[in-house]
């Protein structure tokens, strides 16, 4: 548990509607620095939409979002990235024709501002060193020259998290990192990822409650775009409403 209770992310009355459909309804959420928060809920509960609002993929229909005390509502995704929020997607999103090395490299490069168009990319020593460090961190150094589409599915998921981490985020939004993996694979992935993301503030979206139980300090439950419960894993487990609509018991 983090010692300080410094709020890093705050959502105030955030709404999102698509036509007549209210996908996110008056969500209030605040996240402490260093916290690992799980966001769970059945399919279609608005979890991914909520992440899309935080990192600017969709504009909000109402409400405000603050990051480290500054309003970031409706900033474009690349601005949000530079402010320090990184994102992985539910469906693996990589540069599939590029190697593992190139995938990380381009993310590391995004933090370097100088662009001399006549400098050979491999001559950027700072970018190269950081890329190698990141490859070591995510455990894909041996596969650096493998084209990312040829990686195992689990490794692709890890690489995507590596790409996100290479942008040096303070807050990481992980959208179902274990989607498409078997339970065994999920456990392995979670173990690997835990080391990588230590010390970062995380929002972990999952629809499989089992994955987050041992991982998150607090869990927020979303249903039909509304937060219906928030608390420790134990509190969530014991929550009547959650059991009724989410666990189906």
């Amino acid at each position: 548990m983090p010692e300080t209770n410094e709020i890093i992310l705050e959502l105030k009355e955030v709404n999102k509607s698509f036509g007549g459909l209210l996908a996110v309804n008056k969500v209030n959420l605040s996240l402490n620095k260093g916290e690992l928060r799980a966001l769970i809920g059945p399919n279609g509960a608005g979890k991914t939409t909520l992440l899309n609002l935080i990192n600017g993929i969709f504009p909000v229909s109402g409400g405000q979002i603050f990051f480290k005390g500054k309003e970031i509502t409706n900033l474009s995704p690349h601005r949000i990235s530079h402010i320090g929020i990184a994102r992985t997607l539910q469906i693996t999103s990589l540069f599939s024709g590029s190697t593992v090395y190139e995938n990380i490299w381009i993310a590391v490069q995004s933090r370097k501002r100088i662009y001399n168009p006549l400098v050979h990319a491999s001559k950027r020593k700072d970018v190269k060193d950081k890329t190698e460090y990141m490859l070591e961190l995510i455990g894909l150094k041996e596969k650096a020259q493998t084209v990312s589409s040829e990686l195992s599915y689990g490794d692709q998921r890890i690489l995507e998290i590596g790409v996100a981490l290479s942008t040096e985020p303070e807050l990481l939004l992980l959208d179902e990192p274990t989607a498409g993996l078997s339970t065994e694979e999920s456990v392995i992935l979670v173990k690997k990822v835990q080391g990588m993301i230590a010390g970062k503030t995380i929002i972990l979206v999952e629809h499989d409650m089992g994955v987050v139980m041992g991982l998150a300090e607090r869990i927020t439950v979303l249903n039909y775009g509304e937060i219906i419960a928030e608390g420790t894993p134990q509190e969530i487990k014991d929550n009547e409403e959650v059991r009724k609509i989410y666990l189906g018991t």
Binding site: N55, P77, L94, S98, E102, I106, Y115, H120, A121, V127
Partner: protein, 322 residues
């Protein structure tokens, strides 16, 4: 690392050899063939500039004709009507298309896929219509002829009316442009372009302003397409509204797809192959578009990644089986 050094050395060797062959060629072929080669160099430049925007950045632009035509008209009109010298006019044939590319790109890069292709066609069509109708300025479909004064830069003086001088002049500029583009695509900027082609959403999520990078690619490609147009007019001593027709961009599309997109050398080879075939088959087939069409269909069926892509995959196969 060693591999990249070998490939770099290999490139320098092949590039030097090709230049050497092209440099001595005028001594062995007649003026007619020299003129053909100059035109080929111009289309190579046009094709590789198109490759930057299409092959590397993934944007199918039919607007390149607009910049080609603008470059061509810039040289012609500035020399003929305003009495500018050749060197300044040629320089402006990069600058003016860049300004237009900025304007066109500003609106176009907000769109993606087929919508991008269509809006660029529309801009080219507007250019073409203005060129056709504003006859007092552009000469309309008859076009404008002119006699460029020698190109002077320091001690260098190139007589553009002499075909051999013209040949070396265009060859040198196209070679430099090739090296420039090669450097661009190997630079961090080029890596961002490639990433946009691969996965635009991901590029945005890791913090790149995708629209701005697309605009940069569009402007560079536009400037070089303009230079190609400028060189074309310096060679033919003529500019016409037909150069602004969007179908001119179609040439670049065909060369790029046939040769292999996103490789630079591919579009250059594509231009060479198709223009040579057209050159030799024109008497039999009567129409050159037919040649381009047949080659295009053949390549799409046999080698959808183009000639260079085909060779690369063959080499890769050999490597893994060995």
């Amino acid at each position: 690392m060693i591999l990249s050094k070998i490939s770099h050395f290999g490139f320098v060797l092949i590039f030097g050899l090709v230049l050497l062959v092209l440099a001595v060629l005028p001594f062995f072929v007649d003026l007619y063939y020299q003129t053909f080669l100059i035109e080929l160099f111009v289309w190579v430049l046009f094709a590789i500039s198109f490759d930057l925007i299409f092959g590397y950045t993934g944007l199918l632009s039919f607007g390149q004709a607009l910049f080609f035509g603008l470059g061509s008209y810039t040289v012609t009109i500035f020399v003929r009507k305003f009495g500018f010298n050749t060197e300044l006019s040629l320089f402006l044939s990069i600058v003016i298309p860049i300004l237009f590319a900025w304007f066109v790109g500003y609106f176009s890069v907000k769109l993606t896929g087929i919508h991008f292709a269509i809006i660029t066609i529309i801009f080219a069509m507007i250019g073409n219509i203005i060129g056709e109708t504003w006859t007092s300025f552009t000469g309309g479909s008859d076009g404008l002829t002119f006699s460029p004064p020698p190109f002077r830069l320091g001690l260098l003086s190139v007589d553009m009316m002499d075909i051999k001088s013209n040949y070396y002049f265009v060859l040198a500029i196209v070679a430099i442009s090739y090296l420039f583009l090669r450097r661009i695509v190997q630079s961090p900027l080029g890596k961002v372009f490639i990433s946009i082609r691969e996965n635009e959403e991901r590029v945005q999520l890791i913090g790149y302003n995708v629209q701005r990078y697309k605009l940069v690619a569009f402007i560079i490609a536009g400037g070089l397409s303009g230079l190609a147009g400028g060189l074309y007019s310096l060679t033919l001593k003529y500019a016409g509204a037909s150069y602004l027709h969007w179908s001119v961009s179609g040439h670049a599309v065909v060369y790029t797809v046939v040769g292999g997109m996103g490789t630079l050398i591919g579009p250059a080879l594509g231009a060479g192959i198709i223009m040579s075939l057209e050159h030799y088959l024109i008497d039999i087939l009567q129409t050159t578009d037919l040649v381009a069409g047949i080659v295009l269909v053949f390549m799409i069926l046999v080698a959808p990644k183009g000639l260079v892509g085909y060779i690369q995959s063959m080499l890769k196969k050999g490597e893994t089986s060995a």
